[in-house]
Symmetry: C2
Subunit: 355 residues, 2 copies
DNA sequence: ACCTTACCAGAAAGCGCTTTCTGAAAGCGC
DNA sequence: GCGCTTTCAGAAAGCGCTTTCTGGTAAGGT
């Protein structure tokens, strides 16, 4: 009884015999690729039901050399940003009847490459890379070395929120333009002394948002001096730590931009702990518009991104008919959403225009 | 050039020829199942590298009739509760070198059964069912009909946060006991008039938490009258709607229990909109301790569940050696975490002991 | 020196399907 | 009534691996 009596699966062969047809006919009857007499089709279906036939996806994939799985590689499914995008991917996947293999890199670049390789072995129809890439030559090359042969062999790649290092469709947030608009909005409120809670500088997303923000400030003749940019991890705790670090600096800004909502959330907590009230004492803005920032007190001003749609688009792009020659790029989001976390600077800080 | 020139993959056969060994040896050299002379192993490895050989996982699975993928079925990846558990699953999966296929049912019971079937076809080594099941005879039977043959064929099933309808390992939150403890804690603060924002009553999680809460109240001789239990969807908006509904009722409670943190988040928003301050005017508690409730103002009192660990346990249980005879059950969490969303009831509400 | 073990490598038989290729039967014009 | 196309079903050849099974060679015992 404690024997490993894993009984074999019912195979198509058995179904065919039961229905009194050949293997080939049974296959056709079930997939409906070619016409089969209705009566036979029914007989096969009935037999399959009766026997509880479950096709072997591996055999199907092998024989047809095509699968219908796609791989989704993200940095961290637990993060609300990726969770929202993943949700979109799942919705589109359900519609298109593809199965999603999930990979979480835990923010380690090497893992990403490893997963691409694994997904290649799985013969995934498409690979979706979600989240910023790294500004690192050797990493880029290694990733390309995995991706290129994959694409050449007919695989599809779509990236979300990441510069295209390879021939891939892309869904790109308006990082730069969005950050510029945010800067303008913040300037319009009267702010002149800014600080930025920045993420790992090797992430392209960080670089873009920072550049865009600087650009916006520059329009008002303001430059962000290095002391006003604090780096932290791309997480809530990273934002918290960065904000605390910021508070130790000599000059205090009237307005802080967290390059990510998640970081801004951490910053909000840090400010609260320090007895600094947002937005009375300091204004705070983020980027992404993850759902949770609406629940904060105060709700966060941010640059909106249609996260769920981004996921849907990614998979749709990837599965659409071959890209013609070039890959498609879809730019999304980038509108500022003003909420209560930003306000005009406190009256007593009118002095000290930025350098 | 626009031809579909999807070039074939390098097969093991090619690698073997290149290395000057047989197919069988090449296979053994690469997987290391049997001893192969070191020199040959190296030759094969080198050839594989050189040719960019990527094994075909489908062929491997077919030939060895074993795969190393597991299926993860949850109600909604976008929900922080599931996202946190999924994160745990991913961590454990990465350690154990298994690939996760993700399925999101969007809270439709039928989809769950469909996904089980799909994962069966994929010959997943294990299927993880995350989230409450439904109290619905026909659904249960249909799910069992999918799961039973799967298990009999050697598949493993683990459930998280769900009663075991089948022979499955389980990670079960202390829903009932946790809710009872919460009730006690709330009573200890002096509350006597309670309301509950309940989820879909057909979910076993809801039933358990409600029962546990009632039990705790009963210890103080308090019974929850039906007018004090408002049902809503298991989402933020469901909690919001339920809370608004609650506010239209004649008697106002001094303390509200949202059976889910996510619902409590919605409730908090509803209260705020209605000008009701938490916890001054009304106390609010949730259940789950999803990370975001710590960021709220006020942070939410709740019953803690080790969400990430739950996911890790689920996959570990499922992949561990065969269950002997019986399946294992791991009970987790259930401790009350008091935060600022609960306080003694307002002084002017001392009257009206609950019936 | 002879027989037994032990170790490795190759041949070949599948794993469970899809899909081409082949052939039988039926429909049709003249 | 004969050759034509058309429709549908079966035979069989793989898809790319793993894994027995077989055999050859080297090591070990007496």
């Amino acid at each position: 009884m404690s024997e490993r009596e894993a009984r074999a699966h019912v195979t198509l062969d058995v179904v065919a015999r039961r229905a009194g047809v050949s293997l080939a006919t049974a296959s056709r009857a079930l997939n409906g690729t070619t016409r089969v007499r209705d009566e036979l089709r029914e007989r096969v279906r009935a037999a399959a039901d009766l026997l509880g036939y479950i096709p072997n996806a591996h055999a199907q994939a092998l024989a047809s050399s095509s699968s219908n799985t796609v791989g989704l590689i993200c940095h961290d499914v637990g993060d609300p940003y990726f969770a929202a995008i993943a949700d979109g991917v799942m919705r589109a996947a359900a519609e298109q009847d593809v199965l999603v293999m999930l990979a979480s890199t835990f923010r380690e670049p090497a893992r990403e490459i490893e997963y691409v390789s694994i997904l290649r072995a799985q013969r995934a129809r498409a690979i979706l890379l979600i989240g910023s890439g790294f500004q690192d030559r050797t990493w880029e090359r290694a990733l390309g070395a995995e991706l290129d042969p994959y694409i050449r062999a007919g695989g599809r790649v779509a990236v979300v929120s990441r510069h295209r290092s390879v021939r891939a469709d892309a869904v790109l947030p308006e990082n730069r333009a969005g950050a510029t608009k945010l800067a303008r909005a913040l300037l319009a409120l009267g702010h002149r002394r800014f600080a930025v809670l920045s993420g790992p500088p090797e992430l392209t997303t960080v670089a873009d948002r920072l550049a865009g923000f600087r650009e916006g400030l520059a329009e008002a003749g303001i430059t962000l001096d290095p002391g006003c940019v604090v780096e932290g991890a791309f997480t809530r705790d990273g934002g918290y730590a960065a904000a605390r670090e910021l508070l130790t600096r000599p000059t205090r800004p009237t307005c802080v931009f967290g390059v990510t909502d998640v970081m801004a959330v951490g910053a909000l907590a840090a400010f609260r702990e320090a007895g600094i009230e947002v937005p009375r004492d300091i204004s705070l803005a983020g980027f992404d518009d993850i759902p949770l920032v609406r629940e904060l007190t105060p709700p966060l001003t941010t640059v909106a991104l249609p996260l769920t749609e981004m996921g849907q688009h990614a998979i749709s792009l990837a599965l659409r008919e071959p890209h013609g020659q070039r890959s498609r790029v879809l730019r999304v989001g980038g509108e500022v959403v003003l909420r209560a976390s930003t306000a005009p600077p406190p009256a007593d800080s009118a002095a000290g225009e930025g350098t």
